[in-house]
């Protein structure tokens, strides 16, 4: 039985053909990765090159009248972070709640249609969100702003008056929250339903209530996914131009959520790019680059948090 026709079975030509399939496929996926890397690296390169004049500009060379680039983007950076931060603070709990509702709380028959309805939120173009925020939501919130200003004015973020039109950073944040909600919900929902039945049952059999089961089996399983979903949402919130440009009544940074003022980087770009040329364009693109860096830092932190618990991945 010992054979000398070396490795006949393990190296047969048919198998070699199949192996080529494997090679080709992994090659294709690798190529796709390289393509993405190339595209994205190009974008980054483009941004850096276009930003350099603004980043290296000396005093008096900037077209926006500011002494330095950082005194120009600094306040907008803060504005952007506040707007998307508040948006995420609002959207994340609601989105996770909705996802849970769909995956574990709603009657099984309803969960599909409900998921569909929530996905509708993603179908609405940002211009429409902008118009809605400007004409409907803003004025609707004015009484609340008045109340906050009168009763909670001692809190810095509510200090210093309120907007008559409701076109404030908080309104913008709410609009952003509504826009990122479907992104987070949809991804969380898909992951929640993947929670192994085995683990859900393990929790229930221990006498866990539904909520305890969710805490024990669903959330740990979905942790990485939730973080990713929130990061995608954050990306959308950080990068949203048109809706913020329409909703917000921008101005200098005041960090006051309920009065006019403050500005975000994407809205600044959208509002000023059309009339910009030369150095002004470089400044705006450089502002875009700054936004990149912010996104990157936040994402790296998120990845780091997820990777700390890699050993406990849900796929095992």
């Amino acid at each position: 039985m010992t054979t000398t026709t070396q490795q006949s079975a393990l190296h047969d030509p048919k198998s070699a053909g199949g192996r080529a399939g494997d090679k080709i496929f992994s090659g294709i996926t690798l190529t796709a990765g390289i393509v993405i890397l190339a595209i994205l690296a190009f974008v980054a390169l483009y941004l850096v090159i276009e930003s350099l004049p603004a980043l290296t500009a000396g005093e008096g060379e900037l077209a926006n009248g500011k002494t330095s680039f950082w005194s120009y983007v600094g306040p907008m950076m803060v504005g952007t972070l506040i707007a998307s931060g508040v948006a995420l603070l609002i959207a994340t709990p609601v989105a996770v709640g909705v996802a849970l509702f769909i995956s574990h709380y709603s009657p099984k028959k309803l969960s599909q249609p409900i998921g569909y309805v929530i996905d509708l939120l993603a179908a609405i173009p940002s211009v429409v969100y902008g118009a809605w925020g400007m004409t409907f939501l803003g004025p609707l919130l004015v009484p609340a702003y008045r109340w906050l200003s009168e009763n909670a004015g001692w809190i810095p973020i509510f200090a210093g008056g309120y907007s008559q039109t409701g076109r404030t950073l908080f309104t913008a944040s709410v609009v952003l929250a509504v826009m990122v909600l479907p992104i987070i919900t949809s991804m969380c929902r898909e992951i929640f339903v993947q929670t192994p039945k085995l683990h859900e049952e393990a929790a229930l059999a221990l006498g866990a209530t539904r909520w305890e089961m969710v805490k024990m089996a669903v959330f740990p399983f979905a942790r990485a996914g939730i973080v990713s979903a929130v990061m995608l949402g954050l990306g959308r919130a950080l990068g949203e131009t048109m809706a913020v440009a329409l909703v917000l009544s921008p101005g200098v940074l005041s960090a006051n959520l309920i009065s006019a003022g403050n500005q975000t980087i994407p809205a600044e770009i959208a509002l000023n790019f059309p009339e910009a040329f030369g150095m002004r364009q470089n400044e705006l693109i450089a502002a875009g680059l700054v936004l990149f860096v912010i996104t990157l830092v936040v994402n790296m932190i998120a990845r780091w948090i997820v990777s700390r618990h890699k050993e406990f991945s849900g796929a095992n």
Partner: protein, 374 residues
């Protein structure tokens, strides 16, 4: 003996298992109480319906918690509270949806139903035409055919580019890379790209095409396709990656053990298992880019007539159409027709995304795991 137990139970009428439970009408009492208290509180500082609803809801959650806590125990109270909050989250999410949809429907529906809105473009529609139709009260002329076709072509193009690339890349990340430098680099760039302001993507695409085909000719649908792809790819990669990661390893092992090649395992086992999530992710990505305004404006320009060619001449798209009509009416002194067209176009856009979503779900359903059993 069995009969014995039966009668024993019947006689008792209630059981130890239900002892100490809050009465069934607790929720109604709490709701009514909350509503009254909320109304009373608001009466002091000025009543309004929205505030009343919010306050009632908050009070209801709290009072149910307290009631359950006192009558039953903390765990049930906590569980009940989270149930209320989860349902509440859903209701809260419905509010903006209903509001936006109502706004779009009420303003946009008449425009959508106007004869020829879907079948005509804006050729020949000038401010004078709009002024006339306002003055004479006749129907609004002009439509979205050109923008509809533009949007569909551009989005289709972007999807054709981004979905395979994004899907394959996430396969690479999940199945092939073993956490090497290269996969870290991809992850790094994908992360950065998720936050790219859309207009920057547009500028990049316009600039890239300018160097490739020269100025002037670079304004075309395909440039917009590129811009949208840059925006779409990270969303596809990141959502697909997540969906692939939660596929149980034991399924992969089962397949390998049958002598199935890795690539077939991926295509036939891993992807079908996660198809519903992938489909959702792709639809989301499409929904995200199909509504983009700024990047299309700077890459594909604007047009008043239908263009079927992605590689030549300017192209209109729905979001640009909506934005221009809304912010820069055809007749500045008579903006109503433009506004009507804008909201009707928004409605068209929403319907398209809904249909896409529906298709994705059907696709997902066809391949998805047969849900049943342990």
């Amino acid at each position: 003996m069995t009969a014995n137990v039966k009668t024993e139970l019947e006689n008792k009428g209630r059981s130890r298992l239900t002892v100490g439970q809050k009465p069934r009408w607790t929720w109604a009492a709490c709701l009514a109480g909350s509503a009254i208290v909320a109304a009373a509180v608001l009466a002091l500082i000025g009543f309004n319906v929205a505030g009343w609803a919010v306050l009632t809801a908050v009070l209801y959650v709290i009072s149910m918690y307290v009631a359950t806590l006192t009558i039953e125990n903390r765990r049930k109270a906590t569980d009940g509270m989270w149930t209320n909050l989860v349902v509440g989250a859903f209701l809260v999410a419905l509010l903006p949806l209903i509001s936006v949809i109502w706004t779009v429907l009420s303003i946009g529906l008449p425009g959508l139903l106007a004869p020829g809105f879907l079948a005509s473009d804006m050729l020949g529609v000038t401010g004078a035409v709009d002024q006339q139709s306002v003055a004479e009260g006749t129907g609004v002329l002009g439509g979205v055919k050109h923008a509809l076709i533009g949007s569909l072509l551009i989005t289709l193009g972007a999807t054709v580019i981004s979905v395979p690339i994004g899907l394959l890349t996430s396969i690479y990340l999940v199945e092939y890379s073993r956490g090497g430098v290269f996969s870290k680099a991809i992850t790094f760039f994908v992360d950065v790209m998720t936050g790219i302001p859309s207009i920057v993507a547009g500028l990049f695409a316009a600039g890239l095409m300018m160097t490739l085909v020269g100025p002037g000719t670079n304004v075309m649908g395909f440039s917009a396709v590129l811009a949208l792809s840059v925006l779409m790819i990270p969303v596809v990669v990141r959502s697909t990656e997540e969906m692939l990661r939660v596929v149980p390893n034991e399924l992969r092992e089962a397949s390998y053990a049958l002598g199935v090649r890795k690539w077939r395992t991926i295509l036939k086992v891993v992807i079908p298992t996660s198809i519903s999530g992938i489909a959702s992710g792709v639809t989301l990505a499409i929904a995200r880019v199909i509504g983009e305004t700024a990047p299309i404006l700077v890459t594909a320009g604007v047009a008043i007539q239908t263009n079927w060619n992605l590689f030549q001449d300017w192209m209109m798209s729905l979001p640009v159409y909506i934005y221009r009509q809304m912010m820069f009416p055809t007749a500045p002194s008579a903006p109503d027709p433009s506004e009507q067209r804008a909201w009707a176009a928004a409605l068209v856009l929403i319907i398209i995304v809904m249909l896409l979503n529906l298709i994705a779900r059907i696709v997902a359903k066809t391949f998805a795991p047969k849900k049943s059993g342990r």
